[in-house]
């Protein structure tokens, strides 16, 4: 019984996916499909309260503890936001719309597995279940060249990354003969040994690809640009959160990841991601590409917490993740809403946003708040997250990383401000891309407005999140 309650969110999400599938088979209806998906996700979110009562709960394959619940909340909230945004986005899509929600629910199930995995098998299956539907979601508008290109690019590169991951697991298994995290930890002993270290490195490559850390980042801008808005939103939020949480678990618990060499590699990856991500974003004239590069930089910042991996590391990572997810959902949500009436690809080029303020003042305000938060301006959520990272880096004496973060933020400010200036320029001519008139009263609009309010609220009053994260830090630190 405890087992069932602990897995209740996963069961509910999978059941919803099956229900959506049966609904499609019976009769296609966009609104009721969305309703089923949203109700299922909300029930899963509610069931986390029951899960909280039985946590921590461990089996051979999954560990339902504080970190897992935290990750599940973020994944489910991002999926909910994506589902509502997809409703607005797909309304004008000609062709089958309902499969998108089925894929979205499957991907959410993968995220839920991943955040609670404590076994290489669940790690692998979670990661695959997260990526596999994403191929379909990214290539959803497959009659458009860019969308198809995004899907195929992600499919091929993701398969290569998965091969690295599997090889890493095989090496770790060769040394210890175990696949569960506890067994690996016991088998590898102090420092890990040569095979264990090689395995850890290869696993890091596989996960680094999903997080688009710098040497493995080449797919990010194309996929973000080509994929439909809601798919790119999911990729930027839920999928990354789940992978970060699993990486956090590995770094904290596995001795092979606690090795000095692995830490140095992590530090180099973090430093490179911060600088290169921000530098590449400088010259972008496309908002989705720009957000893609900026997400590379943000995961560079987040890696600082994993490099330090002691003291407040878990708390910092948790706070930063919340801030990042809320902000990213807001920014991508606006892009999705603006693109939702468009028929030939997403509105992503910066000139589409020229003078948006004079037509859609509130929507522009949301995007402005999100961009300010990404830049880390005080009184927004992003500032709190960045403050935590800097504090952690300074306390651990990682001056290179702190320096990289400061330089990166300075560069970041420039291109975020460039976008903001574009939004408020007076636009003389006609404008092709626009959100629907009544966007503010639709579900997607309400979600975006709520996210913007949350960004400001968390920036001014972050105490609840910090307390939650601190509790995680005590449990896992």
């Amino acid at each position: 019984m405890t087992y069932l309650i602990a897995l209740l969110p996963l069961i509910l999400v999978c059941a919803t996916a099956v229900a959506v599938m049966l609904g499609i088979a019976w009769q296609r209806h966009h609104a009721s499909t969305v309703l089923t998906a949203v109700v299922g996700l909300n029930l899963a979110l509610l069931s986390l309260v029951a899960v909280h009562q039985v946590a921590p709960f461990e089996t051979l394959l999954v560990a339902v503890d504080g970190l897992a619940i935290f990750g599940a909340v973020l994944v489910l909230v991002s999926t909910l936001a994506c589902a509502t945004l997809a409703h607005a986005y797909l309304e004008h899509y000609r062709g089958p719309r309902e499969e998108f929600y089925l894929l979205l629910l499957c991907a959410a199930a993968g995220g839920l597995v991943l955040v609670s995995s404590r076994h290489m098998a669940t790690l692998f299956f979670g990661l695959e279940l997260l990526s596999m539907p994403l191929y379909g979601m990214l290539a959803y508008a497959f009659h458009e060249r860019r969308s198809l290109e995004a899907g195929i690019k992600y499919l091929v590169l993701s398969a290569a990354a998965t091969a690295f991951l599997l090889f890493g697991m095989a090496l770790a298994y060769a040394q210890t003969g175990r696949l569960d995290l506890a067994g690996l930890t016991a088998g590898l002993g102090e420092g890990g040994g040569a095979w264990g270290l090689a395995g850890a490195g290869l696993i890091l490559v596989g996960l680094g690809f999903k997080l688009s850390l710098v040497p493995f980042h080449l797919w990010t801008p194309d996929v973000y640009e080509g994929g439909p808005g809601p798919a790119a939103t999911f990729l930027a939020s839920a999928s990354k959160v789940a992978v970060v949480i699993v990486l956090l678990r590995l770094v904290i618990e596995s001795p092979a990841f606690a090795h000095v060499g692995v830490h140095q590699i992590l530090a180099v990856l973090a430093f490179a991601s911060m600088l290169i991500g921000n530098l590449l974003a400088l010259t972008q004239a496309n908002l989705k590409r720009l957000l893609g590069y900026s997400s590379i930089a943000h995961f560079g910042y987040l890696l600082v917490a994993l490099v330090v991996a002691e003291g407040l590391a878990v708390e910092t990572a948790a706070v930063y993740l919340v801030m990042y997810v809320v902000t990213t959902l807001g920014a991508f949500g606006v892009v999705t809403l603006v693109s939702s009436r468009d028929i030939s690809g997403d509105a992503a080029a910066l000139h589409h946003y020229r003078g948006l303020f004079w037509r859609r003042p509130y929507l522009t305000a949301v995007l402005t708040v999100a961009l300010l938060s990404l830049a880390g301006i005080p009184f927004t959520a992003g500032f709190i997250g960045k403050f935590y990272i800097v504090a952690l880096g300074v306390e651990a004496g990682r001056w290179w990383l702190v320096g990289g973060l400061i330089v990166g933020s300075a560069i970041g400010l420039y291109y975020y401000l460039r976008v903001m200036v574009t939004l408020y320029l007076v636009e003389p001519g006609m404008q092709r891309h626009d959100a629907p008139h009544d966007w503010g009263t639709r579900a997607g609009g309400v979600v975006v407005l709520g996210l913007a309010a949350l960004v400001v609220l968390l920036g001014v009053y972050p105490t609840p999140i910090i307390e939650w994260a601190a509790a995680l830090g005590v449990a896992h630190g």
Binding site: C106, P133, R341, Q431, P436
Partner: protein, 181 residues
């Protein structure tokens, strides 16, 4: 048993090299079948006959034959007969046949020694053991695999649609235009 393991491992590596270095898809697939059978033999020698049998039935049997048929069907026509004749030259089939011969010798040699339950170390994993493990503690994985296949199927059926969605009517932007003007 170690000899069988290393021999079939060597065959697997050589056959896989043949797969990636071959320019003709059918020849490459022929090598791939040999490689899969060699891997199956590796499984047998490690004491996992169930995995070995599955490897042969599912991979070398079902999937590979499907591959070969599809590849062959793709280039039907008059030229195909001449092509087939050209393929029957010894230098084409000698490589895979040689590797398969090594596998056969290994297999027969192992069987000659009697005891079929012989493994390198540990105990033989029977189908029953695999089944109780898979539907006991690993049930979650089986269910996840099911969802994964569902997602893959939906993706494939969606992207594989023959007809792209109809072109939308041209007057769909009128709302935005009015607003802007």
């Amino acid at each position: 048993m170690e000899i069988a393991f290393y021999l079939s491992g060597l065959v697997a590596v050589l056959a896989t090299l043949g797969v990636i270095s071959n320019t003709n898809p059918v020849h490459a697939l022929l090598y791939l079948i040999v490689s899969l059978i060699a891997v199956a033999l590796v499984f047998f020698s490690l004491g996992a006959p169930f995995a070995g049998a599955l490897e042969i039935i599912v991979y070398a049997g079902a999937i590979m034959v499907l591959f070969v048929f599809v590849v062959m069907m793709l280039n039907l026509g008059e030229a195909v007969v001449a092509q087939e004749r050209a393929w029957l030259r010894p230098r084409t089939w000698l490589g895979p046949a040689l590797l398969a011969g090594v596998l056969l010798v290994t297999l027969v040699g192992t069987l000659w020694r009697g005891d079929i339950g012989l493994v390198i170390e540990g105990e033989t994993l029977t189908a029953k053991a695999v089944g109780t493990l898979l539907f006991g503690p690993w049930l979650l994985i089986v269910e996840l695999a099911a969802i994964l296949l569902l997602a893959a199927l939906v993706t494939a059926s969606h992207v594989g649609r023959l007809r792209p969605p109809e072109k939308p009517p041209t007057d769909r932007e009128s709302g935005a235009r009015k607003e802007a003007s």
